[in-house]
């Protein structure tokens, strides 16, 4: 329940990130490998929920890390590294989405994460609920998916989402609120009797 009533934690220890960034700037390739290991999952997840396809998410994640390496000189240390990295990731995923043009209808056989696969002990009801929420998310617009992903899967707070999307916090709150309202409408039967 931590996630419900506490501010979402910062994914990475920013001081440790800064140290790794500095080491890589001095030519330590292992430092960059550590950054990749640290952020591969959140970056991949952000790309996955925006693009909805694992293979696209994988390609984007790889591109994002290469861009991070190339642009590290542009990174300013007063900002959190992961916010900067997320901005690159979200922009890259949205660019891929734009290049692809109109979003295609979802393939029913799409291979998104299976809760039973990694959490076998999870109750059937929770698994079903997750599956329904995922299905609803996949039908939402890319803008709704992006803001919901950053908040609920990447666990960024309003300020961090605002940095990533280059919006003000008020707009972020509004977008989140509206996206959740649409999600609620799609999941009407979740409402208690």
């Amino acid at each position: 329940m931590r996630q419900l009533f506490e501010p979402p934690g910062v994914i990475g220890d920013n001081d440790a990130d800064q140290a790794l960034v500095e080491r890589f700037r001095r030519g330590d390739k292992e430092a960059f490998a550590e950054l990749v290991i640290r952020y591969q999952r959140p970056i991949y997840n952000a790309a996955f929920w925006i693009l909805r396809r694992p293979e696209d998410a994988s390609d984007v994640a790889q591109t994002v890390f290469l861009r991070i390496a190339e642009r590290l000189d542009e990174y300013e240390s007063q900002y959190k590294f992961f916010s900067w990295a997320y901005r690159i990731a979200v922009n890259e995923a949205l660019n891929v989405q734009r290049r692809r043009g109109r979003e295609e209808p979802l393939d029913e056989e799409i291979d998104y994460p299976d809760p039973a696969e990694h959490n076998p002990e999870r109750k059937l009801r929770e698994a079903e609920l997750s599956a329904r929420i995922k299905a609803a998310l996949m039908r939402m617009s890319v803008n709704d998916r992006t803001v919901l992903t950053l908040r609920h899967f990447s666990e960024l707070n309003y300020q961090e989402i605002a940095q990533v999307l280059e919006l003000d916090e008020k707009t972020v709150k509004s977008r989140l609120h509206e996206a959740r309202q649409r999600l609620r409408e799609m999941l009407k039967d979740l409402r208690p009797d």
């Binding site: 996630q3 390739k29 991949y44 994640a61 790889q62 591109t63 899967f153 709150k173 989140l176």
Partner: protein, 349 residues
């Protein structure tokens, strides 16, 4: 508080963004308003459901794939070790990388971002090499012309002619003395052909071709091809190819390829490839690859790879790999790997 403000407060509390007073205010409202309480419970269920959606797992090879392509910042002290420890095989890796980059619609990135290989790097040692090379080539040209010169007045029709495999631009009439009659164009010289020029020279033959020039020299032959130049030298042959130059030297051959230059040297062959340079040397071969340089040396081969350099040396091979350097050395192989250096050495089997 109107309905929208109440809903926003619920979202803020569930997001963990509400102030302490906001949370207290909501608690009070929910205790007095069952409808608001129901809405809050519904929202909470939604948040709970979102929280329980498992995170997707990235593919296992993502880190390795990224590290195989990442470049160390150019201003870093060890920028020259670029693409070495995790470098793509120049034999099989390039295609895979290109296709991935293309699939993403990205601009093509240079595979190696090290020193500009085309820059001329001066060095008296290599100049001496060039001089020696030029003398050798010149002597060979004189010897060949003395021994095998076609006598004037003899019609070239009827000479024994091997099959014409390749024909480059021919020397002009002023450069080469040909027999009387205009039928020479239908034949290929039966003897080796030499060509020297201050501008450029090209030679092609079934036997051998030699070219030396201040500008460029190109040679191609079924047997062997040699080229030396201040500018560039290229040689390709089924047998062997040798090139030496102040600028760059490239050699490719089914048999062997050797290249030496002040700038860079590249050699690729099914048999063996050797490259030495003040700048960098790269060699790749199915058989063996050797590279030595003041700057860096890379060698990859199915058989064996050796690299030695003042800067860094890397070798990777299915058979064995050896690397030694003053700076750093890395070696990886399926069979065995050895690396020694004043700076650092890494070897993985």
């Amino acid at each position: 508080m109107n309905k929208r403000e109440l809903t926003e407060l619920m979202h803020a509390v569930l997001d963990g963004e509400a102030t302490a007073s906001g949370r207290r205010e909501l608690d009070g409202l929910l205790s007095r308003d069952p409808a608001a309480k129901a809405e809050f419970e519904e929202l909470k269920a939604l948040f709970d459901g979102l929280a329980h959606i498992p995170k997707a797992y990235p593919p296992e090879g993502l880190v390795a794939s990224v590290m195989a392509n990442v470049n160390i910042p150019q201003n870093s002290p060890s920028g020259g070790r670029l693409d070495q420890l995790f470098g793509w095989s120049r034999i099989i890796g390039l295609r895979a990388k290109e296709s991935r980059v293309k699939s993403l619609g990205l601009e093509q990135r240079s595979l190696f971002r090290g020193a500009d290989m085309s820059d001329k790097i001066g060095g008296s040692k290599s100049k001496r090499k060039i001089l020696i090379g030029a003398v050798v080539v010149g002597a060979a040209a004189v010897t060949v012309s003395l021994l095998f010169d076609v006598p004037p007045g003899v019609d070239s029709i009827g000479t024994i002619v091997p099959a014409l495999r390749y024909r480059a631009d021919q020397p002009t009439a002023a450069d080469v003395k040909l027999g009387a009659g205009g039928t020479v164009t239908s034949t290929v010289p039966a003897k080796p052909q030499s060509d020297t020029s201050s501008g450029s020279s090209n030679g092609s033959s079934n036997g051998s071709a030699n070219g030396s020039a201040n500008g460029s020299a190109n040679g191609s032959a079924n047997g062997s091809a040699n080229g030396s130049a201040n500018g560039s030298a290229n040689g390709s042959a089924n047998g062997s190819a040798n090139g030496s130059s102040n600028g760059s030297a490239n050699g490719s051959s089914n048999g062997s390829a050797n290249g030496s230059a002040n700038g860079s040297a590249n050699g690729s062959a099914n048999g063996s490839a050797n490259g030495s340079a003040n700048g960098s040397a790269n060699g790749s071969a199915n058989g063996s690859a050797n590279g030595s340089a003041n700057g860096s040396a890379n060698g990859s081969a199915n058989g064996s790879a050796n690299g030695s350099a003042n800067g860094s040396a890397n070798g990777s091979a299915n058979g064995s790999a050896n690397g030694s350097a003053n700076g750093s050395a890395n070696g990886s192989a399926n069979g065995s790997a050895n690396g020694s250096a004043n700076g650092s050495a890494n070897g993985s089997h």
